[in-house]
């Protein structure tokens, strides 16, 4: 027997059974199911392949923290809270979220008419102490996640080389890229539906 995982978007957007937003999501059953399956494929895969469960949760909580979504951060960091040996990671990730705060999207366009729209912003690197604590592989993953979260148009083959140099495989980079990008999607669905849900309740009241 398997225990069904709750729908994470409903859970984090505060959508309860029978509410107005539940009825709206019910009209898009495939979107609801496949968004959940995307979550499960990234966080409860049958085979973790080249990206460990801890790496997945560390990166996802970092991405949620950079988006300043405390509930989603808490959701992704929670496995570390329950773990005796990895609890130290929480404070390191929190410190790096604080250090990595920015507003996006920024970045450079290819040289040409769009250069006038170039926006500068921070090029984030972990503190030496955090890098030492997290190791080169997870450190590189967090730096790449920051690039994807805030200034994806600055991405380059060199950024991928930085991952490969510290032991990420091509398969691992694909999963990592999907994970960061999926969480960027999930956060926006949750944030958007939470605002819509509050507005719907006000109308009904």
């Amino acid at each position: 027997m398997t225990i069904a995982s709750p729908d994470i978007i409903d859970l984090l957007a505060g959508i309860t059974a029978g509410s107005a937003l539940d009825r709206i999501r019910t009209q898009r059953p495939e979107t609801r199911e496949q968004a959940q399956k995307s979550y499960l494929a990234l966080f409860q895969p049958t085979d973790f392949g080249d990206v460990s469960a801890a790496e997945r949760h560390a990166v996802a909580s970092f991405v949620a923290g950079l988006h300043r979504q405390p509930d989603i951060f808490e959701f992704y960091i929670s496995p570390f809270e329950e773990s005796g040996s990895d609890r130290w990671l929480i404070e390191v990730i929190k410190a790096e979220i604080g250090a990595g705060r920015a507003k996006g999207p920024y970045g450079q366009y290819p040289d040409g008419p769009l250069s006038g729209e170039n926006e500068t912003g921070p090029l984030y690197q972990l503190s030496p102490a955090s890098r030492e604590a997290l190791g080169p592989k997870l450190s590189a993953a967090l730096e790449h996640a920051h690039l994807l979260v805030f200034h994806p148009r600055d991405a380059s083959p060199r950024a991928l080389q930085a991952l490969l140099d510290v032991g990420w495989t091509t398969n691992g980079v694909v999963t990592l890229s999907q994970l960061v990008s999926f969480v960027a999607f999930q956060i926006r669905v949750i944030a958007g539906l939470a605002v819509l849900s509050t507005a719907a309740k006000r109308v009904a009241a």
Binding site: H67, P110, S156, T170, F182, F185, R188, L193, V195, A199
Partner: protein
């Protein structure tokens, strides 16, 4: 052994937002068509996608690609009810324009133009950016998509009120949210795993 990215020589790369049929080339090695197993083919969802280097790269994680593809298709193609397809594509184009994904914006601006028959307004969004005046209903959809795309997102009650005032009901507003949110997934993949190539 350390693997290496591909640095493709791209002559004459697209440097503006365009509705032309530009291409895309990967920075990491896609799987070869001949090496695709049943598991990979299931992840591709449609056999024709095996021709695309982008999908043959993403299929290195087939279960994630399968769920992502099905999420994408339902958000954009399931338009029996709710927001018209043209306006879902408008939300996708606005997110792509704001994040700066020239390739994504080219594909979805073409779809927006095709389904709306308002190619000039779509071009205005590409040329002038997300502040372009496209009429109130489209302005409201673009503004909501941009507020969700901002990092962190700044989407709030005022965006819902404006969409409501423009005539969108709750299901249609949820469709705008999903269309814009999905491109925050797609843009990051397209921008970070390869680059656009010129139209033939």
């Amino acid at each position: 052994m350390t693997e290496h990215p591909i640095t493709p020589p791209v002559d004459n790369p697209p440097v503006t937002f365009t509705q032309a049929e530009i291409g895309w080339t990967p920075w990491l090695q896609p799987l070869a068509e001949d090496d695709l197993t049943e598991r990979h083919l299931k992840g591709l969802v449609e056999a024709a996608r095996a021709k695309s280097p982008y999908f043959r790269l993403l299929v290195r994680d087939p279960e994630v690609l399968e769920a992502r593809t099905k999420t994408d298709k339902d958000i954009f193609y399931n338009s029996r009810s709710g927001l018209p397809r043209a306006e879902r594509e408008l939300a996708a184009t606005a997110a792509s324009r704001y994040n700066g994904c020239i390739f994504c914006a080219s594909v979805h601006s073409r779809f927006a133009s095709h389904h709306s028959k308002r190619g000039e307004d779509v071009q205005k969004l590409l040329d002038e950016g997300v502040e372009a005046d496209l009429g109130e209903r489209w302005n409201a959809i673009v503004a909501a998509s941009v507020a969700l795309t901002a990092t962190p997102p700044i989407f709030g009650d005022e965006h819902i009120s404006r969409l409501s005032a423009a005539g969108l009901d709750e299901l249609e507003i949820a469709d705008v949210i999903h269309g814009a949110a999905f491109f925050n997934w797609a843009n990051r993949l397209m921008l970070s795993l390869g680059e656009p190539t010129p139209a033939n």
